[in-house]
Amino acid sequence: MKFYGLVAAAASLIAAPLIAAPAMAQQLAPSETLDAVKARGHVECGVHLGLPGFSFANDKGEWSGLDVDYCKSLAAAVLGDATKVKYTPTSVQQRWPVLQSKQVDVLARNTTITFSRNATLGVDFQGINFYEGQTFVVRTKAKVSAVKDLADGTICVAAGSTEEKTAADWFRERNLKVTIINFQKNDDAISAYDQGRCDAYTAGIGALAGQRIKFKNPEEHQILTEIISNDPQGPVTRWGDERWQLIVRWTLNAQIAAEAFGITSKNVDEMKAKSQNAEVRRILGVEGKFGEMMGLSNDWAYNIVKQVGNYGESYERTVGMGSALKLKRGSNELWTKGGLLFTPSFQ
């Protein structure tokens, strides 16, 4: 009996790791959000109520914009299909509870990265997809050339946005008196400015280029070129789900890296088949199995570039020269070309 007991113990000691090994190889940190997305079959994305160029629904209900393209990239990476996204339009107030309560998986809503948001709201910023700068739109008739000419004026702003505090601080530092009227929604502030309640409306220069179409007579308004603050904006996730945060971060990095390596939606198949660049091969999943390390398929970055495009293509299509906004790349260019977009290497 003792002999057979010894044999059984030895056998189990040898067999156990062999049986457990395959299971252990697949063990990744649990990700509640990723599991929920896979079970649901689509990504829930929190977007703006309607900001042309960034996240805007046309009258057929089709969403388009830079942030919308980011959501589509996420869906392409996680689920393999860029169309599997549901958009939740949120106001400046609604965006935080909607993310904190797990109603959306990520917030792609031209949200500025600030210390107090990171520290007190339980949210994390996973990178920068647009470098914004705050400025003002005024009536051309008012002949305002610099921001300080707005002293003694009235400024409409959306309550709770970074623009509200930045504008108040800017004028206070220079001892200039200005009246700031807070509205609950950006659209209310815009129509009040249009009606003449305020002398100026303040938002980011990219956002203003988009909001311009909402004015009754866009030609009568002029967007100032003086920038009073730099606002980096990027996708936002909540604390606690590190693997999901990893996926969100590297989806954005993949788009930027694709542009850095010259991979576009048109040549991605050719690059995948023929490229000898080691990093390109790792990005496109030819070698390295990077997708599996995150819990996704190895095609994740290939799907992003094939279905949505790299960062440059997305930018030109939504806010750049190929769109109605006609914004120049400026800081939103690759660092090798004089801009600020940078990604760590795919190694």
């Binding site: 509870p97 707005l150 004026g153 009235t154 009227i181 807070n182 009606q195």
Partner: protein, 405 residues
């Protein structure tokens, strides 16, 4: 053995004595009521404590800041219309106080005007003049069938569109300016002269009240009339205005002057306040009119016939017979309308009037992210406001209740 039996019998009688005492105690109705109350209180407290603990633990886990210390943080939020002297460098607690004051301001002003307009329209609705009563009916139906948000937006955007830009303001007497940015009124630099005038006015009002009481007593004694109203016009109308003018002449004034884009100086009554005030007053007046109509129609026809038989004029019948008997019927529903008005002042958030919902539940909530604490505080404040109004109205009603046999 015998001893043991007796001993056991002794035990039983002690226990049964205690049991029967307890049963008698419980059979008392008052004791049972108190015990049920205590149990209900304990359960309520336990449930609330559980939810609060649960919420705060989950918030800590999610990295969301919690607690009430955020109230002492610097606010940084601009409030363009305030009479408390709030600056963005003050803390969130004074922002909260500013919001409360603004809510009270618009609510109090609207309650006064809504009551006056409501009573008038209600009485007109019962007028024998067909045109007046039909017009009143149209007003009431129009106002009761359209949502308040529409009125608020209509008054705000409608009024805004009608007013001129600052460069072309309407000016009254060269010192008061009305334009799209608001009504600019000069403010006195030194209020001591006006404080004296205010004291004089209070004295005059007290004198008028004394005269009215004396006149009523004299009429009860001798039947002789006294022209109380004309005396009142002088004492409470002409003389106070003269006092204010004299008081105003003793100080220098901070006049609104056009500087660049806007008028600077003086006090600015923003269009948001005017729009919200107008919308709330006209809307609630329609409901108050119906309440008043119901109250007046509840007075028995016999009372009016008897008053006519006594030879009272129509105005005196309404003032001395109908309205005092209609008040106990009118006051409870009017209390509800006042509470509705106070809660409806939160529509100010839709047009950027800085009342408590816009300023605290809007700006402060987004800048600190502490939704649960802020919403709880706002609920508490509305509760306190509403309860105060109810308590006051109930006291007023009890004072005017008709003593019936």
């Amino acid at each position: 053995m015998l001893l043991g039996v007796r001993h056991r019998g002794g035990d039983y009688s002690a226990v049964s004595g205690a049991l029967s005492a307890m049963l008698t105690f419980l059979r008392d109705r008052k004791v049972r009521d108190i015990l049920w109350q205590a149990a209900a209180t304990l359960v309520t407290v336990a449930v609330i404590w559980f939810f609060v603990r649960n919420a705060s633990e989950n918030m800590v886990k999610a990295g969301i800041a919690s607690g009430f210390r955020f109230l002492w943080r610097d606010s940084g939020i601009e409030v363009p219309f305030n009479i408390t002297g709030y600056k963005p460098s003050d803390n969130l607690l004074s922002l909260l106080w500013t919001g409360i004051v603004n809510t009270l301001l618009v609510s109090a002003a609207s309650i006064v005007v809504a009551t006056v307009v409501g009573f008038t329209v209600g009485l007109l609705r019962l007028s024998r003049n067909w045109l007046l009563s039909t017009l009143a009916g149209f007003y009431i139906e129009f106002v009761r069938n359209i949502p308040l948000l529409f009125f608020v937006l209509f008054w705000y955007f409608g009024v805004l569109a009608a007013l001129p830009l600052p460069r072309g303001s309407y000016d009254m007497l060269g010192v008061i300016f009305l334009n799209r940015r608001g009504l600019s009124i000069p403010t006195p630099n030194d209020v001591s002269g006006l404080r004296l005038a205010l004291l004089v006015i209070i004295l005059l009002v007290a004198v008028q009240y004394g005269i009215a009481r004396w006149a009523r007593a004299r009429q009860a004694r001798t039947g002789r009339d006294f022209p109380v109203w004309p005396v009142g016009f002088v004492l409470c109308g002409g003389l106070p205005i003269a006092a204010l003018v004299v008081g105003g002449m003793t100080t220098t004034w901070d006049l609104p002057i056009l500087r660049g884009f806007n008028y600077r100086g003086g006090f600015v009554l923003v269009p948001e306040f005017v729009a919200l005030f107008a919308a709330l007053s006209t809307y609630t007046a329609g409901f108050i009119a119906e309440v008043v109509r119901g109250g007046i129609q509840s007075v028995r026809q016999g009372q009016i016939d008897a008053a006519k038989a006594l030879g009272l004029t129509h105005g005196r019948i309404v003032r001395l017979v109908v309205i005092p008997q209609a008040m106990p019927v009118i006051i409870p529903p009017i209390t509800s309308q006042y509470l509705n008005l106070i809660k409806n002042s939160s529509f100010g958030a839709a047009i950027a009037y800085p009342e408590i919902v816009a300023v605290f539940m809007g700006s402060a909530l987004v800048s600190t992210g502490q939704s649960i604490e802020i919403i709880a505080i706002t609920l508490g404040i509305y509760l306190v406001l509403s309860l105060s109004v109810s308590v006051f109205m109930n006291w007023y009603n009890a004072r005017h209740k008709l003593v019936t046999r």
